[in-house]
């Protein structure tokens, strides 16, 4: 049985590549994009209308933030706006002309910061970094002022200027590592695409080589399973491989249990394979099924609920989300990696995956129908399905040398 799968891979270099190095390369690329973990030194600008000592102190405070890098000081707001549109900077702060005077007189000058919120993630990072820098500046100036009045100790001066301090704890992703956050969700989404693609390719190869009748007549389920299970095992190993890469290789925090995750992955493999089988037998044409597979799997990352919370998705979005196998898996992965939930608590929401019995039954019914149809008169050559006859490259009247 393995030998059959192996000979399939040996003949078809593209299938072999997609089963091995292509997904690895894509996953590595994704990781490499985010390898830095947290963006640092993002370019920002300042429009200095004050030209004062205090303005320079303010700019130094901005520059001191690890997230920000003072790219340039602009003479006027128009120039800075142009730079913002060009993408040279992600934000600019306008220091008003009466900055120093306001500070001295106790009339708080307003520093406006325009940040590029089109790029939400970057925008948010910049916005909180600028706010933190400005708060630091405020506290420093105020503490100094209080101390100069001479009636306070240093600690008293600090508490007067900052009566309530805040301590924010990021649970489960302590240093806000975006690589961990995004890549650990992207790779399963990619895995999902790959599983459906390979399932369709394998099925279409069998039909092309043996013909639907010869292959599936008699015991369709047994024939299907014997063709697919080596690949399902491969998918499962791929799943295990990325887990090992994340939590052992890259050393991302993991508080749970690998076995639980492997069970969840096994269920995901079964569900994804079923969807692949369904798509293929909908039309019996690989190219058609790939279009369906694309529509189904390509947007799954958006539906995972990692970038945008599931609780804030509308009903229809939640419904679509429930159809996609990998969304059931990602919850278990997060539960295990971060919260270390018990196997039972973590796996029990997956029971809804029994619902994939429905597409499995539909696929079975479709197979029966295709078999019956092809046994009827008007047999197309070599088990070629009628639906794909329009533009099938395979056994049409090709001119071959």
């Amino acid at each position: 049985m393995f030998s059959q799968a192996w000979s399939l891979l040996k003949q078809d270099h593209w299938l072999l590549s997609f089963a091995t190095w292509v997904p690895m390369l894509v996953a590595l690329t994704l990781w490499w994009i985010f390898a830095q973990g947290t963006p640092r030194q993002l370019p920002v600008g300042v429009v200095d209308l004050s030209h004062s000592h205090s303005a320079r102190t303010f700019m130094q405070t901005l520059q001191a933030s690890p997230t920000l890098q003072l790219h340039r000081v602009y003479a006027d707001a128009t120039e800075a706006k142009t730079a913002l549109v060009n993408g040279d900077i992600y934000a600019y702060s306008v220091i008003p002309s009466d900055f120093e005077r306001g500070l001295l007189l106790g009339l708080p000058p307003r520093v406006s910061t325009f940040y590029n919120s089109q790029y939400i993630l970057t925008g948010r990072l910049i916005s909180s970094a600028v706010m933190a820098a400005q708060a630091t500046f405020n506290a420093e100036v105020e503490t100094l002022k209080t101390l100069m009045r001479g009636d306070q100790t240093a600690a008293g001066a600090v508490s007067l200027s900052v009566p309530i301090q805040t301590q924010v704890t990021a649970l489960f992703n302590r240093n806000n590592n975006y690589a961990q956050f995004l890549v650990s969700a992207m790779v399963p989404a990619l895995w999902q695409i790959l599983m459906v693609v390979i399932t369709i390719m394998v099925l279409s190869t069998y039909v092309r080589q043996q013909g639907l009748q010869a292959w599936l007549k008699g015991h369709p389920v047994r024939a299907l399973l014997s063709a697919l299970w080596p690949f399902m095992l491969l998918f499962w190993l791929q799943g295990l491989a990325f887990l090992l890469w994340f939590y052992v290789g890259l050393g991302w925090p993991f508080h749970g249990d690998f076995t639980t995750l492997m069970v969840a992955q096994a269920l995901t493999v079964v569900a994804s394979t079923i969807m692949g089988v369904l798509f293929y037998f909908l039309t019996l044409d690989a190219a058609h099924s790939m279009s369906f597979a694309g529509a189904f799997t390509a947007p799954s990352f958006a539906f995972l609920g990692v970038t945008f919370p599931v609780s804030d998705m509308v009903g229809l979005a939640q419904f679509w989300r429930d159809l996609v196998p990998v969304t059931h898996y990602i919850g278990v992965q997060i539960d295990q990696a971060n919260y270390g939930l018990s196997a039972w608590a973590s796996l029990s929401p997956m029971w809804v995956m029994v619902g994939y019995a429905v597409p499995a039954l539909v696929a079975f019914w479709l197979i029966k129908r295709h078999l019956k149809r092809q046994r009827q008169p008007n047999p197309t050559t070599g088990g070629e399905p009628d639906l794909s006859a329009v533009a099938s490259p395979a056994s049409a009247t090709g001119v071959k040398l």
């Binding site: 520093v111 919120s117 405020n138 009566p163 309530i164 790939m290 279009s291 529509a295 919370p309 490259p393």
Partner: protein, 390 residues
């Protein structure tokens, strides 16, 4: 084998007719182009319908129990970002709620909060939020910090009043400088404005590449007008047909679809249409090339599907290019998605003038040259075997 008696090359109109016929009778290509583009225009934005997460459930652990601390609880509850759903008495209870996913974060008001505040000591409020989900975490912290900030301001004003400052002055002096953050280009910081204008460009690219590849792949190994009319002519006529179709589909995206999702492009129509030309041309060439190199046409779809995630994340609208390895940035400029999405975002969301977008436009024409030549070379190589010159 004897080729069919040397058929004379078709006239331009006949070739165009043959090509239009080939495109529209190719079921898969039609399904991918029209079905794909329209289906995605509704499906993809679906998760972001609500634009930004609000009213996230949190718990408050009030170890103080004073009137001021309850006031703070009310202030927290009043922020749009969070909603207090639980009041717990110990930290452990709050942590248990969190693990059971009843809450997304919690606020701890320390013991003697009120007393220390009165005594002029600096007190510390502790917030905890789930940083596994960054948007949730950001929203949560934003809400909690805002409430804490309001109370801090009130406290300061109160202290100044007690120290004998007049009300107006005291209210003004609570901060040294006034912080005024202005979100620009996407003033509501809505997710729809963030995702739709960028991802839709990628969808245009991916479906067009697939369609061009599927049409080309369907003709491979067969004899037809594509063999006898010279690579360049066939490629250009194919590009003409597909680019025309995609101009219409782009109008649907930039026109109807954007407005449907409350995204308002501010660029001029002329600029958008101009920028589209090299974008669509390059994409068509990539598609044709893929169709030629792929052993069977379904592999075109497989390759395009696998490429989507790396392409979209290397553009720089999600993750800043400054934080990417430069090799990735350079590589991403080989594909139309990077200069394309950057260009369309600048034009339509940020209100750039044409000279500001010009570099992206030039890069796209460079790609037309590169992919066009590659495509031409591959086309000749592919079909010269079955088209012996005689």
């Amino acid at each position: 084998m004897k080729p069919t008696p040397a058929a004379p090359p078709l006239s331009f109109w006949a070739l165009l007719k043959a090509e239009v016929h080939a495109v529209f009778t190719n079921q898969v290509a039609v399904l991918t182009m029209f079905g794909g583009v329209i289906f995605y225009s509704f499906l993809y934005p679906l998760p972001y319908e609500k634009q930004t997460p609000l009213a996230l459930p949190i718990a408050v652990v009030n170890l103080d129990g004073s009137a001021v601390s309850r006031e703070l609880e009310r202030m927290v509850d009043a922020t749009p970002q969070v909603r207090v759903v639980k009041r717990e008495y110990t930290l452990a209870d709050a942590q248990a709620d969190f693990l059971a996913q009843r809450i997304r974060g919690y606020l701890v008001i320390p013991e003697h909060f009120y007393r220390d505040l009165r005594l002029g000591r600096s007190v510390t409020l502790a917030y905890a939020g789930d940083a596994t989900y960054f948007l949730v975490y950001g929203t949560l912290v934003e809400g909690l910090v805002a409430a804490g900030g309001t109370l801090a301001a009130q406290t300061k004003v109160e202290r100044l009043l007690m120290a004998g400052e007049p009300v107006a002055l005291a209210a003004e002096q609570f901060a040294v400088t006034d912080i005024n953050m202005k979100p620009t280009f996407n003033p509501t910081i809505g997710y729809m404005n963030y995702v739709v204008p960028a991802v839709f460009v990628l969808i245009l690219q991916q479906t067009l590449a697939m369609a061009a590849g599927l049409i080309t792949g369907s003709q491979k190994g067969q004899h037809g007008y594509w063999v006898q009319n010279g690579a360049a002519r066939v490629i250009w006529v194919r590009a003409l047909v597909l680019v025309t179709i995609y101009y219409l589909l782009s109008l649907y995206y930039f026109g109807f679809s954007f407005l449907f999702h409350d995204v308002y492009p501010i660029g001029t129509m002329g600029d958008t249409l101009t920028l589209l030309l090299p974008f669509l041309l390059t994409t068509t060439f990539i598609g044709i090339w893929l169709g030629l190199v792929a052993p069977r046409r379904e592999w075109v779809s497989a390759v395009v599907l696998m490429s989507s995630l790396p392409l979209v994340f290397s553009v720089g609208f999600i993750w800043p290019v400054e934080a990417m390895p430069s090799a990735i940035v350079w590589l991403s400029y080989v594909f139309p998605s990077t200069p394309g999405i950057q260009g369309f975002l600048s034009l339509n969301q940020m209100g750039a003038d044409w000279p500001q977008v010009w570099p992206k436009y030039a890069i796209l024409w460079g790609q037309v040259l590169f992919w066009g030549s590659l495509c031409h070379w591959q086309f000749r190589k592919q079909f010269s075997a079955s088209n012996p010159k005689n």
